[in-house]
Amino acid sequence: MSSEGERSDAETTGGDPGRGDAGDGKFGRYGGQYVPEALMPAIGELTDAYERYVLGNEDGFMDEFRRRIREFGGRPTPLQRADRLSRRYDTEVYLKREDLLHGGAHKLNNALGQVLLAKYMGKERIIAETGAGQHGTATAMAAAHLDMPCEVYMGERDINRQRPNVFRMKINGSAVVPVTTGRGTLKEAISETMRDWATNVEDTHYVIGSVVGPHPFPRMVRDFQSVISEEARRQSLERIGRLPDSVIACAGGGSNTMGTFHNFVDDGGVDLLAVEAGGSSLAVDEAEGVAPNSASLSTGSEGVLHGARTKLLQDGDGQIVESHSVSSGLDYAGVGPELAHLVDEGRVTPVNVDDDTALEGFHRLSQEEGIIPALETAHAFGYLHEHHEELGEVTVVNVSGRGDKDLDTAIEETAQRDVPNAPDMSMFEGELR
């Protein structure tokens, strides 16, 4: 057998090329299980549990999940018409209000699902990584709710950018472990959590926070998050009597993105737009190993990171570069393999907006709709603003999270730029931390 043949077999095919629903953990050329051998049995065990409990509803797992995400989480979240944005853009804009989920972001859908699964699997300890702190707080809440000890790894820099979320995790009874390697952001926190997992894999479940990592995480996280599009699709039909022309979601790892898109993938007439963080520029500084953006779908290339083959921000050698975004939660050099695949297939359109436009979007939604979005979410509204004319008659935007965690950052970042619609914060001049 020629090695060439074998390479292209194993590395570029496999899986259902359409929606990646096959069980082998591949989405076209992406996905897989690139993890240390020590983790493989745990991943096998998890895959088994995923298939039985999540896909097979064994022991009524999914019933319990759905009940808890409804009662504890506050589902369904509304699909709200954005009156003022609809007027401004002369198009129907609807908001899927994941910001109303307990904890303030879509992250709980996944965190609750995984912590519950860990319980069904008999695990005794939860670990998680977090960037913006949203996945960490969601996991801490779910762990408290389900009585599981929990430790959350978080980059030191993110700890400083997202202090309220750090407080919340600690108040919920979780330990927060600062990660000081590298630049101290999400990428390093993931590596560190993998190390913990490799050490304590027998009694510990690692709750990955997005549709990334080795199989079965990308599929499993997507399945927990797909309740977003399940509801949004039904609500569209009920509320508007039709499907939207466009669905927009921001994309970091891509979990709110996949959750918002999943049930629309088969609806060919619905455009799916994944808005990445354009940061300050789309260029990569190879010498410094820095990409001043987090737009791996738009500008990245294929590679292997954190357990999966996917699109990455890397230099020519394959070293992962430091990503950047004004929003911690998008500040990641990779993206979920299924999303990378859907982009390659042309089903999802990757777009991006820069930090400035995201801040404008942040202030616009706050002032015009009375909803302060997370800075991650704000990217979707930055895109809506710039491209509303191309979106057709009805657009659904996923409000992936609320901005309470971002108040200080948003104010500081706004003060450093010329944001046309910035509010007057003069009352606090010189007083910001």
Binding site: A10, Q33, Y34, V35, E37, L39, A198, D317, I320
Partner: protein, 285 residues
Amino acid sequence: MSDGARSAVDAAFADEPAFVPYLAVGDPDYESSLAYVEALERGGADVIELGLPFSEPIAEGPTIQNAVVRALEAGMTPARFFEFVREVDVDVPLVCMTYYNLIYQFGSEAGPRPFVERAAEVGVSGFVVPDLPAEEAGPLRAACDEFGLDFVSIVAPTTDEQRLETLVDVSSGYIYVQARLGVTGASSSVSDRTAESLARLSGVDLPKAVGFGIASDEQAATVVEAGADGVIVGSALVEVVADGHETGEATGTTTDRLEAKARELKRGALEGYGRRTPTPEGTSD
């Protein structure tokens, strides 16, 4: 694995328990690193694992992580790594330890082949890739076969019988027996699980080298006594380099300390071999 002729790597385990040291190439700089690797051979190395630094070393503990950061900051790249292998003056087989993305990205053609081809050219004998389990190893293994390099698999304490088979199937050179769960890093005791793993592997016709947490002659001895064909030592050696770097020690002095540490570990391995019960089981054929 290829039957019949055994590779240079495999052969290095033939006569006595092998000492397999690891260093991150380019730590803290290219020139010193050359001297350090050469010192390992003088200290008794039978095979040397050369770490090609990757920005996300998820299987490493803090000691090696820091080494990787130092090496990257000093400009280490795959191209420089290959130069290093060509330049370093040692005679024992060299195994490249790195993460899959660097292997995958190298060269103009996507996939591991260009990297393996170049590694073969400069004299690399095999690979250890901690984030590449057997299930994903096909393409790399194929390239290794093509260019005659070994592909070393890691067996973890959590590896079950079924996986063990798959794993052994794709392996050549030696089996890297992970002494305990967790990441690389020196520790003070050798886990019970090491013995268990060795027992499970007793029927396998490949040398078993134990690594993760071996830091002293006594630990090396214990492991070999338990049946290991070799001991892999990384963090304990990297710590010598780190110490030297942090205290501003002359490269020559660090080189000497490194050689001495290597000697200690090799001696430990030999001692453990001597302590074995009359009919040692672990040594293959």
